[in-house]
Amino acid sequence: MSQELADLHAMWRIRVLEETILRLRLDGDVVGSVHLENGQEAIAVGACRRLRKQDAVFSTYRGHGWALARGVPPEKILAELLYRRTGVNGGRGGSAHFSAPEYGFYGENSIVGAGAPIAVGAALAAKFDGSGRVALTVFGDGAMNQGGVTEAMNLAAAMDLPVVFVCENNKYSELTPINDMVRNPDLSARAHALGIPAVRIDGNDPAEVAAAVGLAVTTAEHGRGPTFIEAATRRITGHYIGDAQTYRPAGELEADEKNEPLVRLGQKLGEAQAQKAEQRARDEIAAATERALAAPLTDPSTAREHLYV
């Protein structure tokens, strides 16, 4: 299979997983706050194919796809959202806060920007533990206005730590246009100001993402410190399930849907290949969903376990 076809298939896996979660949420099988990443799949897919086993990903609450791209089985992700015993954390994390360290996925975070300093700590550990680990932290454009992200970037820069900062700039910080919340819309300029090499890339092209992340990983593993990647993308769904998206100007969503990564790469590879990739993903996720739904709920008597060692 060509790299492009592999990327398309990987993106379809995320899209179908997210569509499935949407359906489960609307049916009431999944409850609570859920954030989907439809339209942003190329970033997770492109980045994760350049990460090694020893690398650590710290994502946001919009992280189902990052977990999947990192290798977490879809059944375990779905079971987590369904609060099943077979979920990656037995339902303690849920949609917005699960982790699966055995797959190099060190967790989502429901506090905007909070994963960045923690990723810096994972990189700090690498300086001493001989693991060769590179830590990748992904966050949205909105997180750039959290002080902790700037603190984390500066600490990583000051100590030359092996961190890749990936900013998924989907144009909206939650429900508010990022460009209304900053004076300089070039978010990578902040990294430059801190002495961190930074690039702005097309986040809807998995190959371009992979190239940037690959270079960042090489830079980090050779002791040359952090890199900042601003990946331009568009979220073609709400900030959360139920978001009325009244903040979008007319016609924007339609335009974004024409340029989303699955459509783009699908058109390039042709309908036959694209359909095959989609169908494979649908078959896999459907089977995973069935198994996840059949698993037992986590036993309520375990609710207070694991508070302390």
Partner: protein, 323 residues
């Protein structure tokens, strides 16, 4: 092998940190001004020279420091972070409450955060409102975070080691008025105790006084001055709190006084009183709390004295309750 050394409170902490760095190669020690300058109170002096890169200075970025500790701990390091003043931990409370405290629980035990946060709190003459607060109750409200408050040099040594060896996040709250006090005999090199427990500072029959932090010495002075026969229980560990020891004492004395330097409302003293009254232990007189009078802390010494608990106030409570 255990031996004895004459150490100040600050010196005892330094000795415990040195032993941690020496015997636990996964430890890291970092914070603002802790490495080359040796700490603003000199507590970490000499450790950079002795242990090299594992001891390092950080930017004035509490969120990055504490977040880095969480991340390093998740990966198997054992970070020890100094937050210069407890008041400063508030700018990074997210990394303690939302992050560190959740690591083990939310991951269903797949991850842990064995990190120690050393800080110091409390009023001292001339300290301003943002360098005076007693904030332990904020931490005690958060399951997942252990809290220790040593006052004596021996406890400073022992509790620091227990905290570092603990596989969960621990906040050790020190007191800067004690760092450079008189030297005391400190047993060093003995076995590292598990977390938890209390210290009985005075033994008596008529009242149980539960206290913690530097004000313990005011409680001892008040007991000695009044001649009241009191059990003085110093809660050197506030999480886990030794409820059983308090109940056993109150069962015998029938009276409970709790003294802390922190504000009364929402203070941990209220929790101690609640646990004792809920237990049904018969009380001869209503329980009482002595603490700061729900106030901001003024810089002026004569004003601070008015809002913070004083020895004579503790003595008056002891006398009134045992009359």
């Amino acid at each position: 092998m255990s031996e004895t050394a004459k150490l100040t409170y600050g010196g005892a902490i330094n000795a415990a940190l040195a032993r941690s760095l020496d015997q636990m190669p996964e430890t890291l020690l970092f914070g603002e001004d802790v490495a080359l300058p040796g700490g603003v109170f000199g507590v970490t002096r000499g450790l950079r020279k002795a242990y090299g890169e594992r001891v390092f200075d950080t930017p004035i970025s509490e969120t990055a420091m504490l977040g880095a500790a969480v991340g390093a701990a998740i990966m198997g390091r054992r970070p020890i972070v100094e937050i210069m003043w407890a008041d400063f931990m508030l700018v990074a409370f997210d990394q303690i409450v939302n992050q560190a405290a959740n690591v083990r629980y939310v991951s269903e035990g797949r991850l842990s955060a064995p990190m120690t946060i050393r800080t110091q709190q409390g009023n001292a003459p001339g300290a301003c409102a943002q360098h005076s607060q007693n904030l332990e109750a904020l931490l005690l409200h958060v399951p997942g975070i252990r809290v220790a408050m040593p006052v004596q040099a021996q406890d400073a040594y022992d509790l620091t080691l227990s905290a570092v060896a603990c596989d969960d996040p621990v906040v050790v709250i020190e007191n800067r008025t004690l760092y450079a006090g008189a030297k005391a005999e400190v047993q060093i090199g003995g076995q590292i105790a598990p977390i938890g427990g209390h210290r009985l500072r005075r033994a008596g029959d008529d009242i149980t006084v539960v206290t913690w932090g530097a004000i313990t010495s005011s409680v001892e002075a008040a007991v000695d001055a009044t001649g009241v026969s009191a059990d003085v229980i110093e809660a050197v560990w506030l999480n886990p709190f030794d409820t059983e020891a308090v109940l056993a004492s109150v069962r015998r004395t029938g009276r409970l006084l709790v003294v802390h330097e922190a504000n009364l409302t929402g203070g941990f003293g209220a929790e101690v009183v609640a646990r004792v009254t809920e237990s049904g232990v018969p009380l001869k007189t209503p329980p009482k709390r002595v603490g700061a009078k729900d106030s901001r802390i003024p810089a002026a010494v004569q004003l601070a004295r008015e809002v913070l608990p004083q020895t004579d106030e503790i003595a008056a409570a002891l006398k009134a309750m045992t009359r």
